[in-house]
């Protein structure tokens, strides 16, 4: 094991941070912040039963942001050399020169910083990033490889990877706020390729999140992940093509919540609300989802990839209700967009790294449980589709068009699951998707393992969740008519 790097607060002493904040506002900016980060990323990949990749990367540096009115200037430097940081601060400050005259901002660096004292949302005693050494990670991969291959002779190829990210950051701003946090993420991904005559199918499964080392020994073993991937691939060999058309769709709990993330969550992010490019701008108090549907975003979910103590602007994580019983009651806010619209930041200011300025982003987003039994939601459908595993999804927040890849689905006939279906794509419009919900199950699960969300080229880990949910009239893409 390597010695721990020096703490960020010694690489970025308070006097230097105060000087950078001053420099960043030297052109007339009304607000500035400094974000320092040290991240260690490791990756091990077993492929064709060979450990092909063993990698280690360090990302470290400082980003400086200057804001005047609605305008942001941003620059960063790799590393912590004070002269490079001063240059970054001067570049960020130049934004103010481009801006029209605005009210004069306060000048002078804060004399004292207030340190954010938000409690940790959960206690991570022995994070997997530190608990597992190289040999332990390789052992997890070998076990997954063995388990997947021995599941079925039709499993002909297996890839398994284990990656970790240990990230420490410090953020301070010209209002005098100072916050530090660290996150420890790890993830095991297993994919299995099944072959049978001319057929080939692949399936994958994941484990991990903001978890302890013991998680991989008890909660989610490599054998369990491998079995899920291998049995999924073999199942797809016998699956049929989906029927094209628009009909009832029941979406699984847990990762199925990627639908609410894409179809609804993105349009609730404060930047598009402030700029009124989101269809949700101005819909506060209106019915945007079916009665009984409550939608929440919270950075406090234990063990999830989407959780943290403070966001990347230093705002403590919180729980925000977006929709209560179908009615839009609140939006997500980062600091800039909250300030410009007279709201309070909700702990949703997030950035991919010190190389990026913060954007308004979701954390863990889910639909609260309802009263239906999951079996009844399926049992009431005469002809429809049950989506058991979803792949990726996307939305255009301005026009609302969304789509999802369904990697494993089942045909519903007369209330029963009759046969597996592959390659279904769900399509629709976010304007009315949440209004098309006609049944919410009681089986809420939050997936804090899988999600990575992309926005403006920045990728952030997120959690998504929901109970089993039924939609009426979703377009299902397929080749069978």
């Amino acid at each position: 094991m390597d010695p721990a790097p020096p703490p960020l607060s010694s690489l970025l002493p308070r006097e230097l941070v105060a000087e950078l904040l001053d420099l960043a506002r030297s052109g007339g900016a009304t607000f500035a912040d400094v974000f320092g980060e040290h991240a260690v990323l490791t990756g091990f990949a077993l492929d064709e039963s060979r450990l092909k990749t063993a990698s280690h990367s360090v990302l470290q540096g400082v980003g400086v942001r200057a804001i005047r009115g609605e305008q942001t200037g941003y620059a960063y430097a790799d590393g912590f050399a004070p002269d490079a940081l001063r240059e970054a601060a001067r570049v960020a400050a130049r934004i103010a020169r481009e801006a029209p005259p605005a009210a004069t901002g306060a000048t002078g660096a804060p004399r004292a910083f207030r340190v954010a004292d938000a409690p940790a949302p959960f206690e991570l005693r022995d994070p997997a990033t530190l608990a597992l050494d190289e040999a332990a990670k390789v052992s997890l991969l070998r076990r997954a490889d063995d388990a997947a291959r021995s599941h079925d002779p039709r499993v002909r190829e297996v890839s398994a990877s284990f990656s970790t990210s240990a990230r420490e950051f410090l953020v301070a701003n010209s209002d005098g706020d100072w916050a530090e946090d660290r996150t420890h993420l790890s993830r095991l991904v297993v994919s299995a390729l099944a072959l049978e005559s001319e057929q080939r199918q692949e399936a994958f499964a994941t484990a991990g999140g903001c978890v302890e080392g013991a998680y991989y020994a008890s909660e989610r073993t490599p054998e369990a992940v491998a079995l899920e991937a291998a049995s999924g691939a073999v199942l797809l060999l016998g699956a049929r093509e989906p029927e094209a058309g628009s009909y009832p769709v029941v979406v699984c709990n847990g990762w199925g919540g990627v639908m609410v993330h894409e179809c609804f969550g993105h349009s609730m992010e404060g930047d598009t609300v402030r700029k009124q490019t989101s269809i949700r701008a101005g819909q506060l108090g209106q019915a945007v989802a079916a009665p009984g549907v409550t939608i929440v975003d919270s950075g406090l979910v234990p063990w999830s990839r989407g959780s943290f103590r403070v966001d990347d602007e230093g705002t403590p994580a919180q729980r925000t209700v977006l929709v209560r019983d179908g009615i839009l009651v609140g939006y997500l806010w980062d600091r800039l967009n909250a300030t410009l619209t007279g709201h309070r930041p909700t702990g949703n200011g997030r950035r991919a790294s010190y190389r990026d300025y913060p954007l308004c982003r979701m954390t863990n987003t889910w639909i609260e449980p309802g009263s239906h039994s999951p079996d009844a939601l399926i049992g009431e459908v005469k002809r429809g589709l049950y989506c058991k595993k979803l792949g990726g999804g996307s939305v255009n927040p301005a026009d609302g068009n969304f789509s999802f890849q369904v990697t494993e689905a089942w045909q519903i006939e007369d209330g029963r699951l009759t046969h597996p279906v592959r390659n279904a794509t769900l399509a629709g419009n976010g304007n009315d998707a949440m209004l098309r919900i006609d049944g919410v199950g009681s089986d809420l699960a939050i997936d804090g393992t899988t999600g990575s969300c992309g926005k403006d080229g920045q990728w952030k880990p997120v959690g998504v969740g929901q109970p089993t949910v039924r939609f009426t009239g979703i377009t299902v893409g397929g080749t069978a008519l």
């Binding site: 064709e48 060979r50 450990l51 092909k52 990749t53 063993a54 990698s55 990367s57 360090v58 990302l59 609605e70 305008q71 942001t72 941003y74 960063y76 430097a77 790799d78 590393g79 002269d83 490079a84 940081l85 240059e87 570049v91 934004i95 481009e98 801006a99 029209p100 040999a135 390789v138 190829e157 390729l193 080939r200 199918q201 692949e202 094209a244 058309g245 628009s246 490019t277 269809i279 190389r355 999804g393 996307s394 255009n396 301005a398 026009d399 068009n401 969304f402 789509s403 890849q405 390659n423 794509t425 399509a427 629709g428 419009n429 304007n431 377009t475 893409g477 397929g478 080749t479 008519l481």
Partner: protein, 459 residues
Amino acid sequence: VSGAARHASPAELLASCERALERAHAHGAEQADACAEGSRAFTVRVHGGAVDTLKQSGTLGLGVRAIVGGAVGFASGTDLSPAGLDDLARRAVALARFATPDEANGVPDAAAAGTPAPADLGLHDPAAVELSPDRKIEMALELERLARAADPRVTRVDGASVSSAGGAFATANSRGVARGWEGTSVSAWVVALAADRDGRQQTGVEGMSVRRLADLAPLERMASQAAKRAVDRIGARPVPSARVPVVMHPDVAGAWISEMAEAWSGESVLKRSSWLTGKLGETIASPLVTLVDDGTLPRRVGSSPCDGEGVRTRRNVLVDRGRLAMFLYDHYHARRAGTASTGNGLRGWASTPGIGTHNLYLEPGGESPEAILRRVDRGFYYDDQGSFGFNPVTGDYSFQAQGYWIERGERVHPVDGVTVAGNSLDMLRAIAAVGDDLAWKSSIAAPTLLISEMTVSGS
């Protein structure tokens, strides 16, 4: 160092690579290579007639791949001081102990790498470097203003952006290969929004990324394209499910060939995870189809004199008039397959090489897009899509789609809320016309295509 007035030169990067190699050997590596990048970029985004964000980026990073006992370790970082490079080399060597020895691991020698392309590829444009922040702000504001002015039904512009970047890349290995080069890029994007019924809005996106400022399309054309796309969609509605001919707009055709590219990866073929496994030499597409990956095209975004392992780039014909002609390889998978690298070992400073494409394109045919449209009696003109819907193992294709319904060779009304599905092998064979309208907006390009039958799923 970022914050400085310019990015690192290829010679400076090569010197860092050589030092990293020397340290890797000192720590016990038998073979090693290093890859370094230095770049600077400046991005302007405007909104509502004013600057929204200005961002300056500067990257300087290096990765070391060390081979010890036939096994590979890799480390990367941004500290290029002598101590930082020594630390990277030490870590890469230490990590190799955990990897599996494999006789195919290694770095190419000078003969395998080939002589670098002698011709100037025109990848570096002084005008792009000199494009000032003020000028970029002017351009972005102009792009936004023109998009709004193009049509009264454009109610908002969801941002316009202009950025420029310059960078250098170097790679060197312990068998004497050392290559470095410089390049620039300029890009511009605009998103127009048009109000539709029931509070809905429609979007129109247009933009491109080029090596040289002079290759950027006129701002007026980009703005009017974005506006036209948004307003033409007003009133879009689903159509009933049907199997019909589909006309693919070049953007959609390009996205399809980009999704398919992995099937040509020698790695996927070795692992039998490609739907083209076992089909080399067979007819897999209509005779109208010639698919090429070429890293030597002058001025193109995906061009470079060599790949990330220092191997000279070249023109690779993947499909020759319908026949599957070859697969793509980096050095490792070429050795596994008993062949030579095709110059497709792509990498950035923070990753090991992986098989990828340079400039991937479908060669244009002889028909105009208008003539292709006139051939369709009843079908779907497909010009925008969702992001997820391709299965790289089976080639199955199923995307959320937007476009227009076609009757008797004319676009009769805009369509959304549908999907378009098929299997790539069936689609390749069903290509009935290839347009003459190949245009480059990125490193992937295709002309208009007519596919004789796909399934449109709708109401």
